[in-house]
Assembly symmetry: C2
Homo-oligomer: 301 residues x 2
């Protein structure tokens, strides 16, 4: 096993990974081919588990986030998109400045969208007001943005990263079955990739003031489980999560069962770059070793 | 032929297209399957035309944009990413607000990255300081953001959209050959998709004050050509462009030929959602008609 720090250092040294800006990395060379293979595998798995696929833009309306109670829960993570003002004088100052970036602060319009902190909010917003005769499962993937402080680590904790999700809306029973299946998807994938895993009860880092209460409740009720993989030095990394939202989004977005009661929702989420990192930690940086570890993917669907 | 407005209205009415926020749309249902097919075709074409592929994050550093002279050229388009401050009092105000979005303005840290206005800037920045013994061609795709006023039209002009590019760095001759080939790629694709096209001299909407001069020069020198497709009502839409940057990026990013002189660069860019729209305008909204129009893709690579 090669610790994550060594893996990242070796990828950087060979030019296969580079940092474009803090928390934003690019990939090229053999490691990109590997990421694409793993992404195809996750995509296939997600499509098999879903009835339909959605393609969503990389940002959400503030109204959707507010309806999700996102601002009360995780404001510390949020990243927003602001375009420049249309005022020609402001634009002129930016255009003519010796250091244009320093002039941007005064030239921005009010932010108009939030860069998606998770992809599943798109699902609840897109289904708002629906009554569900039967459960519905959909899959979607997008770049997500979370600013968890400045302690970025390439592939492990980026400002932007790639999330694939499968979302289920339906009765409590349907959602329970979905989460049981989701557990077999993520543990099965880890097995096929030859990655030793653990399943752990987890909680989200809710923002104060009710944060501790909510996190505790989430843990006690077993609402969030994470699949973690070792990344060396005694550390492990959550690469997938199983999330039971109970009636939270059903109530917030008027997702209803035929009897008029709010539907339950749940999601299974995959962090693609983290799977890549854990794979490299386990199997090293030689493409020959990857082929061996990936051989089972073609055989065993 | 069904005008673009009708196509978008029909897609919206059937739920296959929806607007998440101004200029940001999602796709689902048969039209998403069509987009994915067209995307695979463009990706295959681009990979065949390139020696290597890069995966890039969705944002750029301000330093890269400044080095590209972007701020002097196109500041009116720029969208930036700003995360929230880490100040707990500010976060608390957002978390507790009745209208959290209204509190965001006072809770933002200074913007730290620019959402990519085009994907090829990543190439020049990632190759900075390189000497090129032979030409190098690479392909990359990303969501790009351009705020061209508030007159968004779904699939035609979004705030965010998907761009695939092939970039060439090398001698003037190599870059000329590349652009000639690029022209056969884009015209060939239009032909295979059964889309009547025109190739037009074009110019970028440079920002004042030297804007008119630069745009005129670009047009006179034939540095930008666009492939346009009809979208009904007498309108046409640029779906791909051939861009000769001459020595601009070679000088800016120290891309050098073996004799120490700056290298030439050029790119071929595809706007994926625009290809989709033009295809729907031409072939209608019935998947049966699509299959017929796409049949040649499998036969004739």
């Amino acid at each position: 096993m090669r610790p994550a720090e060594d893996v990242v250092a070796a990828l950087s040294a060979s030019g296969q990974l580079w940092e474009v800006a803090p928390g934003l990395v690019g990939l090229r060379g053999p490691v990109l081919g590997l990421l694409q293979k793993m992404e195809r595998e996750v995509t296939t798995l997600a499509r098999r588990g879903a009835d339909e696929e959605w393609s969503v833009p990389p940002a959400l309306s503030f109204a959707t986030l507010a309806r999700s109670a996102y601002f009360a829960s995780f404001p510390q993570w949020l990243t927003v998109a602001s375009h420049l003002t249309v005022d020609p004088a402001c634009l002129q100052r930016v255009a003519a400045a010796a250091e244009p970036a320093a002039e941007l602060g005064g030239a921005l319009a009010a932010p108009e969208a939030a860069l998606s902190p998770a992809v599943c909010y798109h699902a609840y917003a897109g289904l708002a007001g629906t009554t569900f005769d039967r459960e519905r499962r959909l899959t979607l993937q997008s770049t997500c943005w979370r600013h968890e402080g400045d302690r970025f680590r390439p592939l492990e904790r980026g400002w932007a990263f790639t999330m694939r999700e499968v979302v289920c809306v339906g009765s409590t029973d349907a959602v329970s079955r979905f989460l049981e299946q989701g557990q077999t998807w993520i543990t099965g994938l880890a097995r096929r990739l030859g990655l030793p895993f653990q399943l752990e009860e987890a909680s989200d880092p809710f923002f104060a003031p009710t944060a501790r209460g909510r996190a505790l409740l989430q843990r006690v009720k077993g609402l969030k489980r994470e699949l973690t993989l070792p990344i060396g030095g005694g550390r492990s990394l959550a690469v997938a999560s199983l999330n039971d939202h109970e009636l939270h989004f059903g109530k917030a977005f008027a997702l209803r069962l035929p009897d008029g009661e709010p539907a339950s929702t749940a999601c299974v989420a995959f962090g693609l770059e983290r799977w890549l990192l854990a794979f490299l930690v386990q199997h090293g940086l030689e493409p020959e070793a990857w082929s061996e570890a990936l051989a089972s993917l073609e055989e065993e669907p």
